[in-house]
């Protein structure tokens, strides 16, 4: 067990180092949410939401972008990275060694966790410094739980999706196509978006809106504690994704 943990730690450290050396991943994972927040913040700063006087639009933009940071880092980045590693034969090479496959995958997840937490922290900090928006003290639990559940759920989804991507070239388009439309209709970029009732019901079944709802609860003074429905949605998607990943994850590239 000690050896496993030592190897896990060592591998995760190396993966982190390699991640930050890759300008593409570093930019899209870390800088994109910050740029997005800066732009959306500039557009929405001072705007009101309906007849509410207790908060401005920017108070809900920050948790939306925070959700975006989690999704990009834990889901899109992990799925495309693993798909590329598989298509390039790197995973197969790893499997020719006696390294415990659990240690390798856990290291990838640990590295993703670190990256996601850093991206989330940077987004929170920018929201505070640039727009004076910070989570409510009563919302701390929702924020912490939302981040933990969100990271686990989306990392599991990323792991599961990676096996469905057979070519490295398709990794980016497939991952972005699976979350961007949902992000648009889930209020990630526009908290005051109005969508038809049927679409709202449909979208509420997906984890993107569940995560947004969770993180908004940390900022919105009218929110009441932990959103249980959103917790359930994230948990179900997370568990389902883990089950799929365990069945479909492969180390060798597809022979197609």
């Amino acid at each position: 067990m000690t050896t496993l943990l030592v190897r896990l730690g060592r591998q995760a450290k190396l993966e982190q180092r390699a991640f930050w050396r890759n300008p593409d991943y570093a930019f899209f994972t870390f800088m994109l949410p910050l740029l997005l927040l800066a732009l959306l913040g500039a557009v929405n700063s001072g705007d009101e939401i309906g007849d509410r006087t207790d908060i401005n639009a920017i108070d809900l933009v920050v948790p939306g972008v925070l959700a975006f940071a989690v999704i990009v880092s834990a889901y899109a980045n992990l799925a495309s990275r693993l798909a590329v590693l598989r298509a390039d034969g790197v995973l197969k090479r790893i499997r020719t060694t006696p390294l415990d496959p659990r240690a390798y995958l856990m290291a990838q997840l640990l590295s993703t966790l670190v990256t996601t937490l850093l991206a989330s922290a940077a987004t929170l900090l920018l929201g505070l410094i640039a727009f004076g928006v910070s989570p409510r003290a009563e919302g701390s639990l929702a924020l912490a739980l939302g981040l933990v559940l969100g990271i686990i759920c989306f990392a599991a989804l990323g792991l599961a999706l990676s096996s469905a991507i057979s070519h490295a070239d398709a990794a980016g388009p497939i991952t972005h196509a699976t979350y961007l439309p949902l992000a648009l209709v889930s209020g990630v970029f526009d908290p005051s978006i109005n969508i038809p009732g049927w679409l709202e019901t449909l979208v509420s079944l997906f984890p993107v809106q569940a995560l947004v709802e969770f993180l908004v609860a940390a900022y919105d003074p009218t929110a009441d504690g932990i959103p249980l429905g959103a917790s359930l949605v994230l948990a179900i998607w997370g568990i389902g994704a883990i089950a799929i990943a365990m069945r479909t994850f492969s180390w060798a590239p597809s022979r197609k």
Binding site: R10, A18, R21, L85, T97, P98
Partner: protein, 309 residues
């Protein structure tokens, strides 16, 4: 001698395409054994079965006595693999890669020995993505030997290389042989097989068409030796008539014959200085692997024929 790799009547199909058909061969300790065949002959499939990536439809494969499918880490600790196509995490440095790979093994080779073996000392701090094709292949070798393996699988290690990179790769393989490693090599380059391998299995349509050294394969292909010598023109023409494989062009006689001894006896009967001149100019060349391979491929021999073992 200890048998290190044993493949016994292994068959494998992908859908309706039969890739291996009752393939059998064995490799002894310290041997460089080559699977030679055209693209699609089943070389990589054979290696992937021995590496535990594929399950044979029929037959058994054993490496160091273990079933590659079920032996897991026990076997992986003792085997090094250079895959045919395999990338690297591009943002790792060469030294980091080697150091990380060493950490996967209980008793790895010393770091400096690995760098020296593959000649990457001056590239230690380079990012992998900045290495040339030849340097990447050497890194492949470095990673394969990190655990000081007893057996090394090399899948088409020089495909796409320029002549200099090939020469360096061959040197590295020869160095591994000198370290006492057992090596299973696949290639479609005849010169590579001839230069490196102790024994060669010619894969034809998924079965071992023939197995043996270059000389043994030549025997299986019923090839004679190539001879050339000089004799007076009239004698040269007479000799060409007596030995159907020979042809005379002026005073030069050359061609392929099966029975060299009969030729020697006949040359002794030449009069005057003719015999002395014939022996002085006599050149005998054993058949090359290329000749043997082409003859075997043309004849498509019975897959069960084997020169040895």
């Amino acid at each position: 001698m200890t048998t290190v790799v044993q493949v016994d009547r292994v068959s494998k199909s992908f859908g309706t395409q039969s890739v291996l058909r009752e393939l059998s061969f064995s490799i002894e300790q310290g041997e460089i054994f080559c699977l030679l065949g055209p693209n699609g002959a089943g070389k990589t499939t054979t290696l992937e079965i021995l590496e535990g990536f594929l399950t044979p439809d029929a037959g058994t494969a054993r490496v160091l006595g273990y079933d590659p499918l079920t032996s897991g880490d026990t076997l992986r600790r003792r085997v090094g693999v250079v895959l045919q196509e395999s990338g690297f995490p591009k943002f790792f440095r060469v030294g980091e890669m080697i150091d990380t790979w060493r950490s996967y093994y209980d008793e790895p080779l010393p770091y400096d020995d690995i760098l020296d073996l593959v000649g990457l000392r001056s590239d230690e701090t380079k990012l992998v993505r900045k290495l040339s094709g030849g340097q990447r292949r050497r890194l492949d070798f470095a990673l394969a030997v990190c655990g000081d393996p007893e057996v090394i699988f090399l899948d088409e290690p020089t495909t796409g290389f320029d002549p200099e990179a090939r020469a360096r790769c061959w040197e590295a393989i020869a160095d591994l042989r000198d370290l006492g490693k057992t090596i299973l090599l696949t290639t479609h380059y005849l010169d590579e097989a001839e230069r490196l391998a102790d024994r060669i299995a010619v894969l034809l349509e998924g079965a071992a068409g023939a197995i043996g050294s270059t000389q043994e394969l030549a025997q299986l292909a019923s090839l004679g030796v190539t001879v050339s010598f000089q004799a007076p023109a009239n004698e040269a023409e007479q000799l060409a008539r007596e030995f159907p494989g020979l042809a005379a062009i002026g005073e030069v006689v050359e061609g392929q014959i099966d029975d060299v001894r009969t030729l020697f006896r006949r040359l002794e009967t030449l009069e005057g200085h003719a015999a002395q001149r014939a022996y002085a100019t006599l050149r005998i060349q054993p058949p090359s692997l290329e000749q043997a391979y082409l003859a075997l491929v043309e004849r498509q021999p019975d897959p069960t024929r084997s020169a040895s073992r």
